[in-house]
């Protein structure tokens, strides 16, 4: 098991390297100027040349990449062109803000989606199943930016029950989870963010449960005289590995932040940071954020793989 863990960690290194090469290249393939943020639209060619030199963007791309990579391995992600703050600080603050959303969205999505799916799968083909499956399809199909705007119109604009935008009355630096005046800012983005994972998990769980219920061992359990509740427990446990894999992906999605949801609610998370970095062509922030998010996905998949083994002993890790 330890060898397996070490091997997986080693696998993560080339993946991170590959992601860094791809993200570095993609940023430069896109049209636009990495110094657009710091230069007015009418900057002359001469000014651009001086500033490019000052920021090191006049060097050949492979050289820029190697300089960047050399810094990254020592923990120095560089400075944001737009804000002049260390990229590490920018990315870590944004990830922490997104993690706060995920902290509430994950249990909401996983619990609701799993319960809905389990109920639908247990009553496959009946009206309960049809209602729950219909609701799940709606959840998956609703564009979350649209849902976010509708929730804002209803709960912030019309009823004035919840705030429309932002992270707390004084921003993320003063955010206090123990104060309702702060916590209320979480509700609409959390609900919006959780909606799609709820739908996906409900559908996945429903399919897994329905499939397991048709297996022979379930008939055997019933024949042995187990109560329906005990049978259901066995069914749910057997359906879990499949559900867990999807949960892992959804956890990565939630932790990675949603550009659309965070933009609609002006939530200063990783998705919001990424969208600003793209618009501004803030290359150091873009590279740092993509690298961090890719590592989040790699780590999440790794943890899910590790969890699957104790849940399903049939899966062995060598």
């Amino acid at each position: 098991m330890i060898r397996y863990v070490l091997r997986r960690i080693l696998y993560a290194i080339p993946i991170a390297f590959g992601v860094s090469v791809v993200c570095f290249s993609l940023v430069y393939i896109a049209p636009g100027d990495p110094l657009q943020t710091v230069m007015p639209p009418d900057a002359t060619a001469e000014t651009i040349a001086i500033v490019k030199h000052a920021y090191g963007f006049d060097k050949p791309l492979p050289v820029q990449f190697l300089i960047w990579l050399g810094r990254v391995v020592t923990g120095d992600f560089g400075m944001s062109i737009a804000t002049r703050r260390p990229v590490f600080l920018e990315v870590s603050e944004a990830l922490a803000n997104t993690a706060l959303l995920a902290m509430f969205a994950v249990p909401l999505a996983f619990f609701t989606g799993y319960v809905m799916g389990a109920v639908a799968g247990s009553f496959a083909g009946r009206w309960v199943d049809r209602v729950v499956t219909g609701a799940a399809v709606v959840g998956v199909s609703l564009p979350n930016y649209w849902l976010g705007i509708v929730l804002v119109i209803v709960f912030a604009v019309e009823y004035m029950l919840l705030p429309a935008t932002g992270m707390g009355p004084n921003g993320s630096t003063a955010f206090n989870l123990l104060q309702w005046s702060n916590v209320q800012f979480l509700i609409l983005p959390v609900v919006t963010l959780a909606m799609i994972p709820i739908g996906i998990l409900a559908r996945t769980t429903r399919a897994a449960v329905a499939e397991v219920r048709n297996q022979d061992f379930v008939q055997t359990l019933r024949a042995k005289g187990l109560s329906e509740w005990a049978v259901t427990r066995h069914v749910l446990k057997n359906a879990m590995p499949q559900v867990l894999a999807v949960m892992g992906l959804q956890f990565g999605y939630l932790l990675g932040g949603s550009i659309l949801v965070e933009t609609v609610f002006t939530w200063p998370g990783s998705g919001f940071l990424l969208s600003k970095a793209i618009i501004n062509r803030d290359v150091p922030v873009l590279q740092g954020t993509i690298l961090a998010l890719s590592l989040v996905f790699v780590a999440t998949n790794f943890v899910v793989d590790l969890l699957q083994s104790p849940i399903d002993p049939r899966i062995r890790r060598a």
Partner: protein
């Protein structure tokens, strides 16, 4: 969108959340706090000349800092285009014996926010800070932001404690306008933070009417009044100014309606009726902005004046105004009509049959053209529906317009690099500020401004106009210069150097609790007279 308000549902929610819950709106409406929802995607930088376009200047630049010449944004000037007035310089004149040397007499008794005195040495220090890569105080970020406005200045020198001289490469009668965009920062504070501009950004020090108080990165910046401001008439009336970046128009509108902010920039036209019905004040005024197409004069149909004129005749600007719910002025020239040097330019009234005749005479029917446009961007108004309307009108008059949308950054790159690098485009749709004579007119048609050196994207060149521009730069008598500028604008219209479409009216929506704001005909606005009811 109107949502029904069943009383029962409202009661249930209210009960569920409890009577002690402070509603979102209440928290943001402390007495005397002006909370502005900006269109900017991020907080403007605070190290001098800001980023985030002129919105950065409007809310951060001119509030923390001053320039030697400021813009007159007062109530008395609201019915005409804004002009420059003395700022940190009390007066200025060109050297009588040398028309390439400007003398600026500085205001006395001005202090930086950090308590140091403002002197001539500070102005010279700021010059090297922005221009000289060898100086210890040099900041490449400021070179990028400020050099555009100091292009003609080669040297700054101290004459005495309160007098400075600037030497220019050529006689430049417009130099005071250029200095109006150059914001001065405190050398005391810069030295205190050892020229660490990241540190300076957190503790900026200017001479402006507001002092920096705090900022949550990317989220909000709070400024407080500078009670010792040198212009006592402009000491802010509100207790606090909070700036919140909200790039999404729907988010800004919702935040205003929910009471989280009490001022939003640029509400979308389709939200105006909803905002009005909620009692919000919608404020508009013409301002120096144009929404046009800059044309390719190197190759393609627009090298022919008749085709350029045909494109202008093809447009129904009244239809465009209707599309924008009335939130624009019909664009018939590079300048809005309230500009002092607007004159009597040739107007291209909507006449599709005349457009077709011109295209026939130019042997370009159907006349295939490709426009580079953006999906959004600073000053671009509603680029997609507006461009679609232009396309349909031009197509109906004999053109065959192909729109190539790209994001704002990519379009700026196309605009900067010029027609030589992007010959596939016959026009680019980049909105421009027309606040001063150089930016309004000269840069679009002057041969030395050919991109990538300047903003003449399509490489327009006309010896007569170049001669006129040289005369403008050399004319130091304001009235005589005004006549020359008027002549230039009229010539630009006669030549149809652009496809003129619209001028924005700078809409903003204010809570009914906001008082005292008068919108100047400028990209910049004075927030100091504004007060907010608790």
């Amino acid at each position: 969108m109107k949502v029904a308000k069943p009383a029962l549902l409202r009661s249930v929610f209210a009960l569920a959340l409890g009577a002690g819950i402070s509603l979102a709106g209440a928290a943001a409406q402390a007495g005397g706090t002006l909370v502005v929802g900006m269109t900017a995607g991020d907080l403007p930088i605070t190290t001098g000349n800001p980023d985030q376009g002129f919105e950065g200047y409007r809310f951060v630049g001119y509030n923390l800092y001053d320039s030697l010449a400021l813009w007159d944004l007062s109530k008395s000037a609201a019915d005409k285009a804004s002009e420059i007035k003395p700022g940190l310089a009390a007066e200025w004149h060109v050297d009588e014996g040398n028309d390439k040397r400007w003398i600026f007499k500085l205001r006395t008794g001005v202090k930086w926010h950090d308590g140091c005195d403002f002197t001539a040495a500070d102005v010279v220090w700021n010059f090297t800070h922005s221009k000289d890569p060898q100086a210890p105080e040099f900041d490449p970020g400021q070179l990028a932001q400020a050099t555009v406005y100091l292009a003609n200045a080669v040297h700054a020198s101290k004459i005495d404690e309160h007098t400075v001289a600037f030497d220019t490469t050529v006689p430049d009668s417009l130099f005071p306008y250029e200095l109006s965009y150059w914001l001065l920062i405190s050398p005391c504070r810069a030295k205190e933070v050892k020229y660490n501009w990241t540190e300076y950004a957190l503790r900026p020090s200017g001479t402006g009417p507001y002092r920096f108080d705090s900022a949550a990165p990317h989220q909000r910046m709070e400024l407080v009044p500078n009670r010792d401001y040198w212009d006592k008439a402009r000491v802010p009336k509100q207790d606090r100014l909070v700036l919140v970046p909200m790039p999404e128009a729907s988010t800004r509108t919702a935040a205003l309606l929910a009471g989280q902010v009490n001022w939003i920039e640029a509400p979308s036209p389709d939200a105006i009726d909803r905002l009005k019905s909620a009692g919000m004040q919608i404020v508009t005024n013409p301002y120096p902005h144009n929404w046009t197409y800059q044309l390719n004069f190197v190759n393609g149909p627009f090298t022919d004046k008749r085709v350029r004129q045909a494109a202008n005749y093809a447009l129904s600007r009244a239809d465009m105004k209707e599309l924008l719910n009335g939130l624009m002025l019909e664009g018939n020239s590079t300048l809005p009509p309230s500009t002092p040097y607007y004159g009597h330019p040739k107007i291209y009234e909507y006449d599709p049959s005349k457009a077709k005749q011109l295209l026939t005479a130019a042997r370009c029917l159907p006349c295939k053209v490709t426009f580079a446009i953006s999906t959004s961007g600073s000053g671009q108004m509603q680029p997609l529906p507006m461009n679609e309307l232009v396309k349909s009108q031009m197509d109906a008059a004999g053109f065959e317009v192909k729109l190539e949308p790209m994001d704002w950054n990519a379009l700026i790159a196309v605009a900067r690099e010029g027609v030589d690098k992007h010959p596939q485009y016959n026009a680019i749709n980049v909105s421009r500020q027309t606040q001063d004579p150089f930016n309004a007119l000269i840069r679009h048609v002057w041969t030395p401004q050919w991109a990538p050196k300047g903003a003449n994207w399509g490489h327009y060149s006309n010896p007569e106009m170049d001669k006129l521009i040289t005369a403008i730069f050399a004319e130091f008598d304001t009235q005589k210069r005004l006549k020359l500028l008027t002549q230039l604008n009229e010539s630009m219209n006669e030549e149809a150097v652009m496809i003129f479409v619209a001028h924005d009216v700078n809409p903003r929506a204010l809570s009914p609790k906001v008082h005292g704001f008068v919108q100047a005909q400028s990209w910049f606005q004075d927030l100091t007279p504004v007060s907010v009811e608790p």
